[in-house]
């Protein structure tokens, strides 16, 4: 990626400085760069050991035939596992499920997060308590959150939502049966809205006060201030939120395992991989799925970060 070894400082060369002074400055700079690199080395080594070695092992596993139920029949099969990944017909629906669930959850979380951030940005009594309560969903463990929603909210017998619908005289909703995708998206949105809210709140509170005052003095109303000053300022924060949220939500497993068990178009790549590894007990095939997933992610991430996202560009390029 960027930044680790590159020299970010711009050396200002003055016209009247002598050559020897330039050389000394240059040597000091190289020494500084080397020291920086040496200080970063432990962290990099740790990162490589923890992420790259398992990944290489996974690539190795994807080229062998290894089913845990037949531990004596292990052997090299080249690209057979990849062939079965692409021909099994599970990959494409899984990609669609992953894209749908992730994008819907992220977009809705950002919208709701923005709404709540605006609400909490104003000074009102009890703001601290309100903020703490708002953050709580994000603090829950994903499995606990999914279980609460499954039994206390969505259940047709004992769930609150259906009870409320019955009170209002409406038909009850069979969540997992009729709306499996929305069941998962609702739980994820509920959990990640606080996350987005915190990021956007930081953005809102980081708005320079003089700019807002100037806007008021110039006669801009609340709506125009919001659309022309606040939103552009928040763009970087939204991008950070979307990036981090996507990375986390892509990997979620608990809501799908607990609410729908992968049926109804909710079998994301993470859940599919789990099924192949722990129910199919086919290590080779699961590893192949894993490698394909990572390659897809790298491709998408590279394209998105280079073209769409401005958050990683230096100030002048925005």
């Amino acid at each position: 990626m960027n930044g680790v070894g590159s020299v970010a400082t711009m050396v200002a060369v003055e016209d009247d400085v002598s050559v020897s002074q330039q050389k000394t400055r240059h040597r000091a700079q190289i020494k500084r760069v080397r020291t920086n690199r040496r200080l970063l080395l432990p962290a990099i080594v740790f990162l490589i050991l923890l992420t790259q070695i398992p990944f290489l092992v996974t690539i190795g596993f994807s080229t062998i035939r290894w089913n845990l139920l037949y531990p004596n029949d292990v052997g090299f099969t080249g690209f057979d596992n990849y062939a079965s990944v692409f021909s099994s017909g599970d990959l494409w629906p899984s990609i669609i499920a992953t894209v749908l669930i992730t994008s819907l959850s992220v977009v809705l979380s950002v919208l709701f997060g923005l709404l709540f951030a605006i609400l909490l940005d104003r000074k009102l009594p009890g703001r601290a308590i309100a903020r703490t309560l708002m953050i709580t969903p994000f603090l829950l463990m994903p499995a606990a959150a999914a279980l609460i929603w499954k039994y206390s909210m969505f259940d047709t017998n004992i769930g609150i939502i259906n009870w409320a619908l019955r009170m209002l005289g409406l038909d009850q909703v069979s969540w997992s049966t009729n709306y499996p995708l929305w069941t998962v998206v609702i739980v994820l949105t509920w959990q990640f809205t606080p996350f987005m809210m915190l990021i956007l709140l930081a953005g809102l509170q980081g708005q320079p006060g003089e700019v807002l005052e100037a806007a008021k003095v110039d006669g801009a109303g609340t709506w125009r201030t919001f659309t022309w000053i606040t939103l552009p300022h928040l763009r970087v924060y939204v991008e950070i939120g979307v990036l981090l949220g996507t990375v986390i939500i892509l990997q979620v497993f608990d809501p799908i395992a607990i609410l729908t068990k992968g049926t109804g178009g909710t079998k994301t790549l993470a859940y599919l991989l789990y099924e192949r590894a722990f129910i199919g007990l086919d290590v080779g095939q699961a590893a192949a799925y894993g490698v394909v997933t990572v390659i897809l992610m790298i491709v998408i991430a590279t394209i998105t970060l280079k073209t769409l996202f401005k958050v990683f560009m230096a100030g002048g390029n925005r």
Binding site: L68, L69, K261, G280
Partner: protein, 442 residues
């Protein structure tokens, strides 16, 4: 750690203890047994009574790792298959036991059980013993066994003037369910949650009693057949007409809650549910009636399952583990549960002698006779109309069945939720089952 050290310090010389099933000769060292088990009521009771075992066997500490069934199966399979040796005692079902025994992954317990007269291995219910043995060798001991029965709310039936016979047919039950179905209470509750142990446990028995099965004798898959079509569409129609809303999120626990709350009038599921419905904290205690699992073409349609304790071959504490396993399935343990926790919590369906204990007969009067009747009558070697090449009722005792059953359950669940047609679902399931069956066609 501190407790283990303290126990070591406190325990006397190992040779002072009497030999017998309660005291392994651990020689005064501290032994920690890791027990992997499923989160059912009886297992939790075992965990709460482990203090008794530890007190009788100083130096032994028992750690329970309680997991949900699916997680337990994957964790234990991965551990046993890779020889990791993480667990000393594992809880496995009747599905895994003969296969893992054949693989050499489990310690052969036949001698250890036969040589112990007090243990009385012949007391174990014969069909259960058949299901967990391989070529005459026994590789686990049943902790509790169950079949499936029909459970119904007698009050509701009496109010509607309906009598349910002891051996009903599925058509009768479907009709009765439609009769008593109302907006507040569904006529029947059946499992619909995708999973080979969830949806397919009852559904396979329904298929079998309609005349179908997973494979024929030569391991050709027979899923895409008229019998399957009839059975599965019957199941869906019954649930659509008189079943619970949101069927694909209902499994054992959800239906149990529905019956306890009076939101369902009937339920065909594991016989062990009866003990929970008759427990002191159940709102429907004393109001339930029980009958044989409904049939169509066969005499019985109950399934057979047992949760068993086994000792992985990779354990480093084989003697202590075998001893614990014998304690937890002994007649003494059953008495212990009865006196300490309650007679209706006694692990059912493992030993014939349990059904002769007067206190148990009294506490379980409503459902013990029928459980014993059904469990003695089911035949795991041929539950369906046609012969089959494996031993097992609601599962096919091949390793691929977990995967095949799971994927097929997802397909059928999609059908129950109106997301796919029955022809699509069965056709796809047939392909999966056929591939798995071919591996055994030799």
């Amino acid at each position: 750690m501190a407790i283990a050290l303290a126990l070591t310090a406190c325990s006397g010389n190992g040779t002072d203890e009497e030999p017998g099933i309660d005291s392994p000769d651990v020689g005064g060292e501290s032994v920690t047994l890791n027990v992997a088990t499923v989160n059912n009521g009886q297992m939790k009771d075992m965990e709460s009574l482990k203090g008794e075992y530890e007190a009788a066997n100083p130096g032994v500490t028992v750690n329970f790792q309680v997991m949900e069934e699916g997680d337990l199966r994957s964790a234990v399979t991965a551990d046993v298959a890779s020889g990791a040796g993480q667990y000393d005692v594992i809880t496995i079902g009747a599905y895994e036991t003969p296969q893992w025994g054949a693989n050499g992954w489990l310690v052969d317990l036949t001698e250890a059980l036969a040589s112990d007269g007090e243990y009385d291995v012949d007391d174990i219910l014969p069909p259960v013993r058949v299901a967990i043995s391989h070529e005459g060798r026994q590789f686990a001991v049943p902790f509790y066994g169950e079949s499936s029965i029909l459970m119904y709310n007698k009050e509701v039936m009496d109010a509607a003037g309906i009598t349910i016979p002891n051996r009903p047919t599925w058509q009768e039950i479907a009709d009765i369910a439609a009769q008593v179905d109302s907006p507040d209470m569904s006529g029947i509750c059946m499992r619909g949650k995708p999973g080979w142990g969830d949806l397919f446990a009852p559904l396979t028995t329904v298929v079998q009693t309609f005349g179908g099965n997973w494979y024929d004798e030569d391991w050709n898959a027979t899923v895409d057949t008229a019998e399957w079509r009839e059975a599965v569409s019957f199941y869906k129609t019954m649930l659509d007409d008189s079943g619970q809303a949101d069927p694909v999120s209902y499994s054992f626990n959800e239906c149990l809650t529905a019956l306890k709350e009076g939101k369902a009038a009937m339920w065909a599921d594991a016989s062990v549910a009866a003990s929970m419905l008759e427990a002191d904290d159940s709102p429907v205690q004393g109001k339930m009636g029980y009958a044989h699992m409904p049939v169509v073409e066969t005499d019985e349609a109950g399934w057979l399952w047992s949760w068993n304790l086994a000792v992985p071959a990779s354990t480093k504490q084989q003697d202590a583990a075998v001893d614990f396993v014998k304690w937890a399935t002994s007649k003494e343990y059953i008495e212990l549960v009865g006196t300490e926790i309650g007679w209706s919590n006694v692990p059912p369906g493992s030993r014939t002698s349990t059904y002769e204990i007067p206190e148990y007969q009294e506490a379980a009067a409503a459902y013990a006779p029928i459980t014993l009747e059904v469990m003695s009558a089911v035949d795991p070697t041929q539950p369906g109309v046609n012969p089959q090449s494996w031993v097992g009722i609601q599962y096919v005792a091949i390793p691929e069945f977990q995967d095949v059953g799971n994927q097929c359950a997802q397909l059928v669940a999609d059908y129950l939720a109106d997301r796919t047609s029955i022809d699509d679902a069965l056709a796809k399931c047939q392909t999966l089952a056929q591939t798995a069956g071919e591996a055994h066609q030799n």
